[in-house]
């Protein structure tokens, strides 16, 4: 097994449905042993891209390598090595959670201990309930369990926490982190900014079928961007005077009546300068906050739109 090749390598991927182009020349490399989030609004082409990697769909153009295999041509060799979490469904409506999990375990050579997985994902409470009567969250966690039970090298999680309560979401995140720690490569799609920021080593921002930016969340948030300092105070403060006190390159605005924003390299010195300027002018800077640029901001800057969810 060549473990030096990337987990996923996509080059110039195109997928059309009729005259609608869902994936439009997308290129992406996913390194092994990392958590990679494909982030984008609904309809950006995330699911189509993932389904091409999983071998469910053929690309109309471009090159696809998953674990150095062709997902369609080499499907028989690839399938045992990947785990797939579908966005919904996938289980016989009359099957019980444990029954389905034990079944999929039996299809693999060295499956995980099913009892452990049930315990880890809190599926014990499902008992004899059949799939169609499980709650959405239980169905979601079962789908995750089904993706990992065969001890795959690479798992694809399509919107793994959509519709989960915060507790279940954190349990899912913990499991994803543990997968990474144990050397499993994880590709997940999400339209949740905080999920990508907190969970992923690498983020690929997808919009209209293309990757428009990629890198670590930190790099994406810092790259060329300035952080900002915000505070509120009496309206009509003299921004020119404040600007004179600030170092070269910083900017100061009254964003709206009584709401101020300073952009630039926000360091302790600058913070001190702002507060001492406020002290000199008898202004109490209320709700003073230093804001890091978030992926949300990055997305907005790149596309001029908000992430629809």
């Amino acid at each position: 097994m060549d473990s030096s090749s990337p987990a996923v390598a996509l080059t110039g991927l195109v997928k059309r449905y009729g005259d609608k182009t869902a994936v439009d020349g997308l290129s992406l490399t996913v390194e092994r042993g990392r958590v990679t989030a494909v982030l984008g609004p609904n309809g950006a082409g995330k699911t189509s891209t993932i389904e091409i990697c999983e071998g469910y769909r053929r690309a109309d153009a471009g090159e696809v390598r998953v674990l150095d295999l062709d997902p369609v041509r080499d499907a028989a060799a690839l399938r045992p090595r990947i785990g797939v979490m579908l966005q919904s469904g996938g289980v016989y409506s009359g099957a019980r959670a444990e029954e389905m999990l034990r079944h999929v375990a039996k299809l693999h050579a060295h499956p995980l201990d099913v009892a452990m997985l049930i315990e880890r994902l809190g599926l014990g409470s499902c008992g004899r309930t059949t799939y169609r009567r499980l709650s959405g969250g239980q169905q979601q966690r079962l789908a995750l369990a089904l993706a990992v039970v065969g001890r795959p090298e690479l798992v694809f999680l399509d919107e793994p926490t959509a519709g989960l309560d915060p507790h279940a979401r954190h349990a899912t995140w913990d499991l994803v982190r543990e997968l990474r720690a144990d050397g499993v490569s994880v590709v997940l799609t999400t339209h949740l900014m905080d999920e990508a920021e907190k969970l992923a080593d690498e983020v690929a921002i997808v919009d209209r079928g293309r990757v428009i930016a990629s890198g670590s969340p930190e790099a994406l948030c810092h790259d060329g961007a300035e952080n900002s300092l915000r505070f509120s105070g009496p309206p009509g403060l003299d921004m020119g005077s404040l600007l004179n006190a600030l170092p070269e390159g910083a900017k100061a605005f009254e964003v709206s009546r009584g709401a101020y924003r300073i952009e630039g390299e926000i360091d302790p010195q600058l913070l001190a300068t702002v507060t001492s300027w406020c002290a000199q002018h008898g202004v109490m800077p209320e709700r003073l906050t230093v804001e890091r640029r978030s992926l949300e901001d990055v997305f907005m800057e790149l596309t001029g739109r908000e992430l629809r969810s």
Binding site: R34, G55, K106, L146, R151
Partner: protein
């Protein structure tokens, strides 16, 4: 953020990859067992495959509701209801179950596991055969209770049942793999009723006008019920004509299903 955790000793983690397919035999056995359990757990399916044929056999044998010609009514009815049992499991039941499995992404999920698609189809066939064996055993026992006295070579009976299963499976899978699940549900039930009435199951085909009768005789259900009746009631030899009709349906149905079946 502690994202350097990947340096931990990977050899001992719970999730450390150890991918691999189970042996084919184990996969297919497991899949067959699961499919059969799902079917036997489904109340509507049992109504269709067990209760309806049994009820029809008992009611129409006991009361003179339809003129079944000379001889004991049960000798006419038992072969017809064996044919209906095959129709109910291989066609109607399989079409509905597979249609909903497709709709709910079960086929999609299984497509991501090491189980090959042909392995899934083998398992589905095994499930159909297991249920048919149960149906045949039940109907045969009841028919004996009602005074049935079958004749003929059991090998021809088995051959007819197998070819009938192939023909109905092909048509059922074609329906499940091309139509919406709801359309399959409605369509498969409708076809079941129509074939029950016009396929020589309870009503002899010679009750129909002769033009209609000859057309109906070409249906797979008619070929199956007629072939079974020729052997089991009349003790005739290899029912070549009926086997040929079933073979044509099997080739057409399975061929079209293989060509047009969509997995999601």
């Amino acid at each position: 953020m502690a994202k350097a955790a990947a340096t931990r000793d990977e050899a001992r983690g719970t999730f450390t990859p150890a991918p691999g397919a189970a042996p084919l035999r184990r996969m297919i056995l497991a899949q067959s067992a699961l499919e059969t359990r799902m079917l036997l757990r489904n109340g509507e399916q049992l109504l269709l495959t067990v209760i309806i044929p049994t009820l029809l056999l008992v009611v129409f044998s006991s009361a003179d509701l339809v003129d079944t010609g000379d001889g004991d009514r049960v000798d006419f009815l038992a072969p017809g209801l064996l044919a209906l049992a095959v129709l109910s499991t291989a066609f109607t039941g399989q079409a509905i179950a597979t249609g909903f499995e497709r709709r709910y992404g079960v086929l999609k999920l299984l497509g991501s596991t090491p189980l090959p698609r042909w392995g899934l189809m083998v398992a589905k066939t095994a499930c159909v055969l297991v249920v048919e064996i149960l149906q045949v055993a039940l109907l045969t026992a009841i028919a004996f209770g009602l005074g049935w006295s079958p004749h003929g070579n059991p090998v021809w009976v088995i051959l007819l049942l197998l070819l009938g299963t192939a023909a109905f499976s092909g048509l059922g899978l074609l329906m499940a793999g091309t139509l919406r699940a709801e359309a399959t549900l409605a369509g498969a039930n409708l076809v079941f009723i129509l074939l029950l009435l016009g396929g020589g199951v309870i009503v002899p085909l010679d009750k129909f006008p002769s033009g209609v009768e000859h057309t109906l005789a070409l249906l797979p259900i008619s070929a199956l019920s007629d072939g079974l009746r020729d052997v089991l009631r009349d003790g005739s030899g290899l029912p070549l004509g009926d086997l040929a009709i079933l073979a044509v349906w099997a080739v057409l149905g399975l061929g079209a299903a293989a060509r047009f079946f969509r997995w999601e």
